[in-house]
């Protein structure tokens, strides 16, 4: 148990170090903009993770709240929801990051460096943006309902269950097929999946731009956008539905998506580590020749991984529209959620619990940086910090070498007993 704990601490030390170093190095940029880094970071973290009234790092944990009788009392900040808590927004963003990071991880674990999440995500999004208003309209037509508001409650209830399911299913299928293209090219023709997914991403963006600007454009709004999805397709956020009265949720469009995302994380963990299919893809990804030797159908495993990976990104795209945006606006295609998922997966080192943590951190950082914008600092500060964190966290070997080198210099040399001889 102690050993396990120590191992966990050890594996955490590098990411924590990376975050700290990343913040320190990025403060150079903050200084250049003529702002104080400590205050900026305090502000950023408060805007990212804090409750209302958060001013300092300390407020992230304990916040002073004015009571009804004019006094002041200390409250555990994460639970203080008056006026909406930033964490709810973090979870809203993290929903999509978790799913796209899972998507990346599934591919990585099969030894495929697919970064096609972006393309699959936007295609999934545009699929449900279309289905979300087209399907209900077809159903109303078939049912002979001219005014959706006057539709029978029973019909609406059934639709409210079935329409989102159908939308999500088809979005996942679209994502899966798009991802499968890269997988097929890799497996059958040995086309580098990194390059093919980059290109497929670019193509997907153009397709979505086209669809939003022309066939699916709903009105003559200056920014092209699709029609808003029907209420029956909408996954109603907590602040309008289930937890209407809980103030904590009030500022966020957080909804059932986060539950789906966490469920997906559990399922993917189970798939990777407890199913034969997951075993196959991990073996094929970890050691190609070993998998071949053992008779593992590597090609099938790789294609399956790509399908699953695409489906997860498609799911993320579907939830983004059904639960959050409710329509695709021109420019959404280049918002880069899928790409952020890749970064989250890299930072989490393909660990499933790690993905959830990193996704939340990432979401908070982005949000904090975005909300800083009313200061002097552009939100790109968030991207810069993330780039440095990625850089430092991938310097693990360098750090470890450094530590062992210092250690060996400090410790007296021992002569080890010759074990089985052999030069590496």
């Amino acid at each position: 148990m102690v050993k396990r704990l120590r191992q966990t601490l050890k594996s955490l030390s590098i990411p924590v170090l990376a975050v700290i170093l990343g913040l320190i190095v990025s403060s150079f940029f903050v200084l250049m903009a003529g702002t104080d880094p400590v205050q900026t970071y305090q502000r950023m973290f408060c805007e990212g993770f804090g409750s209302k009234g958060c001013q300092t790092f300390g407020d992230l944990l304990i916040v002073q709240v004015g009571t009804d009788d004019g006094g002041v009392s200390s409250v555990f900040a994460p639970f203080y929801g008056a006026g909406g808590h930033r964490m709810a927004v973090v979870l809203e963003r993290a929903t999509l990051l978790i799913l796209t990071a899972l998507s990346a991880t599934v591919a990585f674990k099969a030894g495929l460096f697919s970064i096609g999440m972006d393309g699959q995500f936007v295609l999934g999004a545009i699929t449900v943006a279309f289905l979300g208003y087209w399907l209900p309209s077809q159903v109303y037509m078939l049912a002979g309902v001219s005014d959706p508001g006057a539709a029978p409650q029973a019909l609406l209830s059934v639709m409210h269950v079935l329409i989102p399911l159908v939308c999500i299913g088809l979005a996942m299928a679209v994502g899966a097929v798009y991802s499968w293209i890269a997988g097929y090219l890799k497996v059958k023709l040995n086309v580098n999946e990194l390059i093919s997914t980059i290109i497929l991403n670019a193509i997907a963006v153009q397709i979505v731009n086209y669809l939003v600007r022309y066939p699916l454009r709903s009105d003559f709004n200056s920014t092209a956008r699709t029609q808003r999805i029907d209420d029956t397709a909408w996954l109603i956020p907590f602040n309008r539905g289930l937890f209407q009265d809980v103030e904590w949720f009030s500022g966020a469009r957080l909804g059932i998506g986060i539950i789906i995302a966490i469920l997906a994380a559990v399922l993917i963990w189970f798939f990777l580590w407890r199913s034969t299919a997951g075993y196959e893809q991990r073996m094929a990804g970890g050691s190609r020749r070993f998998a071949r030797f053992g008779g593992i159908p590597s090609e099938r495993a790789a294609l399956r991984a790509m399908l699953l990976s695409g489906a997860l990104s498609g799911l993320a795209g579907a939830l983004a529209i059904l639960g959050i945006e409710r329509r695709v606006i021109d420019g959404y295609a280049t918002s880069g959620f899928g790409f952020d998922g890749v970064l989250v997966a890299i930072l989490a080192r393909e660990s499933i619990p790690g993905i959830i943590l990193v996704a939340m951190f990432f979401a908070g950082l982005q949000q904090g940086a975005t909300n800083l914008q009313f200061g002097d600092l552009p939100r790109q500060l968030g991207g810069i910090i993330i780039a440095f964190i990625i850089l430092f966290s991938s310097m693990e070997n360098f750090f470890r070498d450094l530590i062992t080198r210092i250690q060996t210099r400090l410790r007296p040399r021992r002569t080890p007993y010759p074990t089985e001889a052999g030069a590496p």
Binding site: F29, M32, A33, F113, I115, L185, L189, N190, V191, N192, L194, I195, S196, I198, I199, L200, A202, I203, Q206, I207, N209, Y210, R213, Y214, V342, L343, I346, D376, L377, P378, Q380, L381, G382, G383, I384, I386, A387, F388, I390, L391, S394, M395, N397, F398
Partner: protein, 362 residues
């Protein structure tokens, strides 16, 4: 593959050249001159970018950060030339911008190389981080230093001036086709030759190729592999920086947020498509320039009822098609090789067997 190319290399090469020449002639005749000119112009970042890509991969490193290096080049070129307050068009010489862009691109290439080769960061992760950093840092500076949103433009920023080639200029047809471009366009052509000479006619180029093909061989004769790779990546970064400078100062005279938009990645594809041959990369880049020019051209003609967004996907679709074709070609060559192998030696084996059965000796 090697065997196949060896036995048929001459025919294959001649066939390819003839086909290429025919296609080029056909295009020259059938396409309007302005389209051809803009293809050449649009191909320039690809020419420089693909040279950057192939130089790095010849040294055994897939330079996935070209995108970031190009973007940095585009940005610093504009920043260098930017001189608010002076009369319109009287800012610093854009050539200076190009030089500074090359310098910064090279510097980033050097940092990239050191991080990858000395600190041993995973290449792909490093490249993603570098690209992410440049994409954000350029916008950050644009805001913080220049207070500009999305686009950094100023009347003082001049684009590169065009140059009429002395004699060629007056030749009909050839003149307009080859003359009258920005200096950087000609420079990119010179670079094709220079990179070719560097790789195939100099000692250093020989070392680059040796390092890329068998680093242990290079190591064992005392070539400092890391130094060669660092140098190649720095050169590659300089080329990428120049490519970026052309994007911002070549035709436009402004920096736009994320203006490279995938050209760096496409450059890598071009280098792969051309089997890392400088001259091949040049012609491949021209083809990509043509595809891009075509989509702009059709965009400006509403009577051709084609959606411009889909046309913008054209070069990308061309890229992936090219990738598939290259892969197919390799796969077919392998299959052909296997088939001829089975036929040739199967036949020999039969002969041998019959001989043995008949009591003969081999």
């Amino acid at each position: 593959m090697i065997e196949f190319l060896n036995t048929h290399s001459r025919q294959v090469r001649i066939g390819l050249i003839i086909a290429g020449v025919l296609i080029i002639l056909l295009l020259l005749i059938s396409l309007p001159m302005t389209l051809l000119q803009s293809s050449i112009r649009l191909a320039t970042p690809y020419v420089l970018g693909s040279l950057a890509a192939l130089l790095a991969s010849r040294a055994g490193v897939l330079n996935l950060a070209i995108e970031g290096k190009m973007l940095l080049g585009a940005f610093v070129a504009v920043v260098t030339v930017y001189q608010p307050g002076v009369l319109p068009g009287q800012g610093r010489d854009p050539i200076l911008g190009v030089l500074v862009a090359a310098l910064f691109g090279g510097g980033l290439g050097l940092i990239f190389a050191v991080l990858y080769l000395r600190i041993r960061i995973n290449l792909v992760i490093l490249a993603l981080a570098v690209n992410l950093f440049v994409a954000n840092a350029t916008v950050f500076f644009m805001r913080v230093q220049f207070g500009a949103f999305g686009t950094l433009a100023d009347p003082s920023i001049r684009s590169l001036s065009t140059l009429q080639l002395p004699i060629i200029h007056s030749v009909p047809f050839v003149g307009p086709l080859l003359s009258g471009y920005q200096i950087l366009v000609y420079l990119s052509w010179v670079m094709v030759v220079l990179v070719w000479v560097l790789l195939f006619r100099t000692q250093f180029g020989r070392h680059i190729r040796a390092v890329g093909e068998n680093r242990e061989a290079a190591e064992s004769v005392g070539i400092n592999v890391t130094r060669v790779q660092i140098f190649a990546l720095t050169l590659s970064g300089m080329l990428a920086g120049m490519a970026g400078a052309f994007l911002s100062l070549g035709v436009l005279s402004q920096f736009v947020e994320n203006m490279v938009s995938g050209r760096g990645w496409t450059s890598i594809t071009i280098s792969l498509f051309a089997f890392e041959q400088p001259v091949g990369a040049f012609f491949t880049a021209l083809f990509f320039g043509l595809a891009e020019a075509l989509s702009f051209y059709l965009q400006s003609r509403p009577e051709v009822n084609l959606p411009p967004d889909l046309l913008l996907a054209l070069p990308q679709i061309a890229t992936i098609t090219a990738l598939v074709l290259v892969a197919l070609r390799i796969r077919t060559a392998e299959l052909m090789k296997r088939r001829t192998f089975a036929q040739q030696f199967g036949h020999e084996l039969d002969k041998l067997r019959r001989g043995v059965l008949a009591g003969g000796q081999d």
